[in-house]
Amino acid sequence: MKELTYVRPTDARDAVARVSDDPHARFLGGGTNLVDHLKLGLLTPDVLVDVSRLPLDEVTRLDDGTLRIGTNVRNSDLAAHPVVRSSYPAVTRALLAGASGQIRNQATTGGNLLQRTRCVYFQDVTTPCNKREPGSGCSAIGGYGRYDAVLGASEACVATHPSDLAVALAALDAVVVVLGRDGERRVPMSDFHRLPGHHPETDTTLAHGELVTSVELPPESALTRASDYRKVRDRASYAFALVSVAAALELDGDVVRDVRIAWGGVAHRPWRAAAAEEALRGETYSEEAVRAAAELELAAAVTGPDNAYKIPMVRNATAYALRGLADRSSERTGATR
């Protein structure tokens, strides 16, 4: 058996130091992803630094209204949190659309963001994979491509990021708070995950040893309250997204005052559809306008035979999610469209 050291620091700084100093050390959260990787032989760390018991497990509202979510808040608890449910429904819906009850009970907020791709070749040590073994090649290209990225992929890697939570957080402009050797830094969700480029081995902009301590959601607003998450999958439960949409919509009559759209299942990171948002902001809301905006965002998409379906699927899912929000908005205001 591969021997490894397991440590359980009581202090975040200590945890950071232990991992920063040792290239073969890894943080352990709930373990629902990492332990699988140990079993599959994807990862052979010498040291596991268990951060799941650090006292970073509370959801608190700061004076300015920011909602701070400690990294050790379990996915189930976060989904069930009354403030999250009422003020950031996209977050609750994204979490509940993910994994299974048992896994959500175990999984942590930080671990969820840092879970790795489900690309079948990444998870199979007998096949080449640039993400697992830089320079070995990408088996997904020319292979099983049903879950592959359509936006922002590179010749080195076409994998998608699997987290549902991350997509909702990206739509809501969350900020990830990170502790490193040199102190704390704050990373907007949109800068947290990377595109693969020439370095698919790196999923995020974190340095080795940087610890996620919390995630902050901006103060609740009409927009965050009118947010939703729609995940498309063949199986009704316990399946990763084919595509998913996190959206928020604020209408003024039938004019789009503000809108947020983020997509899951289409790229190496949650894909904030900035061009689509831009096209819709200030315009009259209509299903056609949403479809056109989605098409605009998708103009740069590259597809193969296995994943070409993602283009119409994400376009339709976006139109569907926004229509739901628009309907609720008009119910509230009594406006008719």
């Binding site: 058996m1 007998t126 292979g143 063949d234 339709n316 569907y320």
Partner: protein, 707 residues
Amino acid sequence: MTVQQARPVPNRAVGIASERVDGREKVTGLATYAAEHRDLQLDDPLHAWMVTSTIARGRVLRVDASAALALPGVERVLDHENAPRAASTDDRELAVLQDDRVGFRGQIVALVLAETPEAAREGARLVSVHYDAEPATVTLDAAGEDDFYAPEQVNAGHETDLEQGDVEAGLAGAAVRVEGRYSTPAEHNSPMEPHAATARWDGSVLTMYDSTQAVHAVAATLAPILGLEQSQLRVLAPYVGGGFGSKGLPHAPEVAAAMAAMAVEGRPVKLVVTRQQMFALTGYRPETISHVRIGAEPDGRIVALEHAAIGGTSRIKEYAEQTATAARMMYAGEHRRTTHRVAALDVAVPSWMRAPGEMPGMFALEVALDELAEACGVDPVDLRVRNEPELDPETGNPYNDRRLVECLQRGAERFGWADRPTSPQAIVDGDWWVGTGVASATYPTLWMPGNTARITADEDGRYGVAIGAVDIGTGARTVLAQIAADALDVDVASIDLAIGDTDLPAATVAGGSAGTGSWGTAIVQAAQQFRADHGDTPDPGVQTTGTAESYPDSVGHALHSFGATFAEVRVHRWTGELRVTRLLGVYSVGRVINPTTARSQFLGGLIMGLSGALFEESVRDSRFGHVVTQDLATYHVASHADVRGLEVDWLDEEDHLATPMGSRGVGEIGIVGTAAAIANAAHHATGVRVRDLPLTADLFLDVPPLP
């Protein structure tokens, strides 16, 4: 008096819905599965871990085990050069570590034995295997036309081809013709308990706890390979966590476990196959492609039918799925041709998976029937009724009791079929298209000779009943006691049943939906002989053993079970997601011995059919040759949320042509036709005709409105 053949028995315990006798042990974790047996475990087993090939075809040049052997805890590494020699290598699937040839990716190329499972697994990771790879053909697409050949026979001993009348003339002269290409992907059985074995060789007897559907068959198959007499193998399987056919025949891991045990005499060896390894080493349903052509009268009566099936098999061992056999007996029609061709590929060895042949074949045929109904403008239920044959078209024999029409009619009534709009896209409910569909189901009534049962009179009016049958989770332990009670005319509580051990009288496989019927016949025959020998008040200790070589009344009849499956689906108009909201199966299966356990079989069959309709697909990488969806996070089976309004019903009947209990089999028919009913319902909902499983969301995106 000698009881030559079992006679029908009156039903008392049989027919009563009773709970599983071993339910409590199972849900409390007391039931011991193949890797959990304490008696062997106490003896400190070595743990075996398989190293499997990473090429699809070629040779092993060298196995470098030095790093593995240097790891603390690793005891031995077996490879093709140092593994014990097999006495027979005729079966190349089972010729484990006997030569340097690699026939498929995922084949066993070394076996690590270590003190702990962790050390064994890490040791396996450290073994480095050097290959000389050769070009491989791993998909049907890559096979050339010349690669397809007619096997000598297809699975279950069916004829490869059958031709009646003049199909081409029949088709040419038909008023209505439909034609289509239908396909089903490779699918893996994936029972909950992985294949596993714990084995010990004491120098004269190999004892093996195995996860199998047939203990005697394992002993009979492995003995000549291991160079032993069958009596030197004792195989036990007291509890088995599902098989679905994948444990019906022994596979390579069982040979590996046995061989390893013999290499370390006196020390037990435990081998558990990982979920990923199950996708290469324990059988699967091969991909099938069916070309179906039907010619009919304007009213839908079939005059000519062709079902030409092709599929893949492994180059190292042939298995030909009998995809077209249901088309031989299902419907009337004068001209008929059914053929099977296979291409030998450099892939893992396919094998039985629940309703081999009928599942993929009836998907093709029953979707084609739906297309015929549409072409003729006939209701799909009526169409099937109109094509009811009087005699079995395949043999010309009368049926035992063909009640397909009754199943269809009862199902139609219960399902509310009469209210169904004829045309597709007729029902919209909010964001969903709604549609309903129907398909027939069938399964042959198989009966296996050679089962032996032993009846012993015990103290206090109790009876011991012994037979080497296996309960793979179906409830065999429960229903065999019911059968024995009726056969002895005693209360079921006074039966002590012993099963799952080759030390007990010989039994055939829990497979082909034939276990209960075949074992039950032997029990009835032994019980009747026992009463003839020892009377109604036997002395404690007296015994009778009886073997059922035949059950005669079936001769001259076509024995089949039938059923009808109705499905309601919803297809999301924006995202294409498909959900099955109702599924009803009505079956004609003879006497239902235990409604509780039978219902479970039907429900499980329907769920597995739904799962095959919507999700299951073993995706083989055309470059590497292995299945890349090799775990249950990527090979999807139905989750609870996918299983909604499920209903099961059956006709009240007894079939004493089939067995003395009046029963036929119930294990497989539930999966047959289910995928077709769902595909037909999806067509009714959306107008989109899907002929290739599975029915995924991308197929229903942006559905155009019908003209």
